[in-house]
C-alpha cells in the first residue's frame, strides 16, 4: 500500500518523540489512505500540543471541515490568519472560511470573510467569483443586498454611490418602503461634489464625513474611492453608532470595489 513505509517511519518517530511535528505528515498520509478517524485523532492531539503551529492548525481545519465541524474549522482558520505573517496564507485562510460559511449557508459571514481576504490582498478574481456566487444564492446579483448583513435594528439603509450619482450597490428605502435609491443617490452626489468644492474655498483640507440629522432619521456619508458611501439610521440612534456603521459600510464597499 502506498506510503506504508513512511507511515511506519513517522509512527516510530512520534512514538520516540511525542512532541515531534511528524504528526502533520502522518495525519496527511492516513487521511489520504482513507483512515480518517486515525488521522483526526492524531491531528486533534497534535494541534492541542502545538496550538500555534500554522501547518497543524490548517490541517486541523481541513479535517474538521470534512467532519462537518464548521465552528471548530473556522476557529482554527482564525488562528491561522492571526498567527501567520504571510499575506497569501492569511488571505487563503479567510477565503477558506468564506467557503465553509457558504457551504453551511452563513452567507453574511461568508461575505465578511471575503472582505477580510480582500483586505489581506487576496486574489481579486477568485474573491469576486466567490462573491458573485454568494450574491446569486442571495438572489442579489447586482449588489443590492451588499450591506444587508451589516444593518441592525434601527438602521435604515446603506448605499454606495458612484461619482456620477448612480447607485453602485446597496439600496435606500423610504420610511414607507418605496425604493428611493436613485433619487437619494443623485441628491447626495451633489452634496459630495459641493463639499469637495467647498473645501477648496474654506481651506479645511479634504472632507471626511458628513452627518445630517433630520426629524425622522439621520444619515452619514463619506468618500469611498471615486464615490460615496451612505448610511441612514433612526433618529434615536447615537451618532457614535451611526459613525461605526459608516466605517463598516465603507470598509465593505472598498473590499467589494477591489474584488469587483
Amino acid at each position: 500500500m502506498p506510503g506504508t513505509d513512511d507511515i511506519r517511519r513517522l509512527s516510530d518517530e512520534l512514538a520516540r518523540e511525542p512532541a515531534s511535528l511528524a504528526f502533520i505528515t502522518l495525519a496527511g498520509l492516513l487521511q489520504a489512505r482513507g483512515e480518517r478517524e486515525a488521522a483526526w485523532r492524531l491531528v486533534e492531539r497534535g494541534s492541542r500540543r502545538h496550538p500555534r503551529n500554522i501547518a497543524a492548525l490548517s490541517l486541523f481545519a481541513r479535517l474538521a471541515a470534512e467532519r462537518g465541524m464548521w465552528d471548530e474549522a473556522l476557529l482554527a482558520l482564525d488562528a491561522v490568519a492571526t498567527l501567520s505573517a504571510d499575506a497569501a496564507e492569511i488571505s487563503r485562510a479567510r477565503q477558506t472560511q468564506a467557503f465553509l460559511c457558504y457551504r453551511c449557508d452563513r452567507l453574511g459571514d461568508a461575505d465578511r470573510y471575503l472582505d477580510a481576504a480582500a483586505a489581506a490582498g487576496g486574489d481579486a478574481a477568485a474573491i469576486s467569483a466567490a462573491r458573485s456566487r454568494i450574491r446569486e444564492r442571495l438572489g442579489d446579483p447586482d449588489g443590492r443586498a451588499l450591506f444587508d448583513a451589516l444593518l441592525e435594528e434601527g438602521d435604515l439603509t446603506a448605499l454606495l454611490v458612484a461619482a456620477d450619482g448612480l447607485v453602485t450597490a446597496g439600496r435606500c428605502e423610504a420610511v414607507d418602503g418605496r425604493d428611493v435609491s436613485a433619487a437619494v443617490a443623485a441628491e447626495l452626489s451633489v452634496v459630495g461634489d459641493q463639499a469637495t468644492r467647498a473645501m477648496r474655498h474654506l481651506a479645511l483640507g479634504s472632507w471626511q464625513t458628513i452627518v445630517v440629522e433630520a426629524t425622522d432619521a439621520m444619515f452619514a456619508m463619506t468618500p469611498v474611492a471615486d464615490g460615496l458611501a451612505l448610511v441612514a439610521t433612526a433618529s434615536s440612534t447615537p451618532v457614535g453608532r451611526l459613525r461605526r456603521l459608516l466605517d463598516r459600510v465603507s470598509e465593505r464597499a472598498r473590499a467589494w470595489g477591489r474584488a469587483a
Binding site: V175, Q194, H201, L202, G205, S206, T209, A217, M218
Partner: protein
C-alpha cells in the same frame, strides 16, 4: 444712534457660538441666495464663501432627506482634515459655524440647535 440700538437680533446668537473653544466664524445666512446677513469671523475666514457654500450644502442635504422621507433636515455637520463646518437653519435662514479640529462639536451642536429655535419665524 446708541450702541445698543445697533445690535441686530442675531448678535447674541452669534456671540454664544463664538464664545466656544476653537470657533473660527459664525454666520447668519439667507437660506435662499446664500448671502451673509450677519457674521463674526476670525481673520482669514472668507465669510462670503462660507455663507454661500453652507447654505447650498444644507439645502441639498435637506432635499436628500426629504427625498428619502426622512423628514426635515435639522443639522448638518461636515468633518474635514483641518476643521468642521456645522450648519442648521430653516427654509429662510441658515446658521453656519466654522471650527478648528479642537472644537467641542457636541457642545457646538447643542448651541446651534438651541439657536435654531431663534431663527424660526
Amino acid at each position: 444712534m446708541s450702541a445698543s440700538a445697533r445690535i441686530s437680533p442675531f448678535s447674541a446668537t452669534l456671540q454664544v457660538i463664538m464664545r466656544q473653544r476653537g470657533i473660527l466664524g459664525a454666520l447668519i445666512v439667507d437660506a435662499v441666495d446664500g448671502i451673509p446677513i450677519e457674521s463674526t469671523l476670525a481673520v482669514g475666514v472668507d465669510g462670503e464663501a462660507v455663507a454661500a457654500l453652507a447654505a447650498s450644502l444644507f439645502d441639498h442635504a435637506c432635499r436628500a432627506s426629504a427625498t428619502a422621507n426622512y423628514g426635515a433636515g435639522a443639522y448638518f455637520q461636515l468633518q474635514a482634515e483641518h476643521g468642521w463646518l456645522c450648519v442648521t437653519g430653516t427654509s429662510e435662514l441658515v446658521l453656519a459655524a466654522v471650527a478648528e479640529p479642537r472644537a467641542n462639536v457636541a457642545l457646538l451642536r447643542l448651541s446651534m440647535l438651541r439657536a435654531r429655535e431663534a431663527l424660526v419665524p
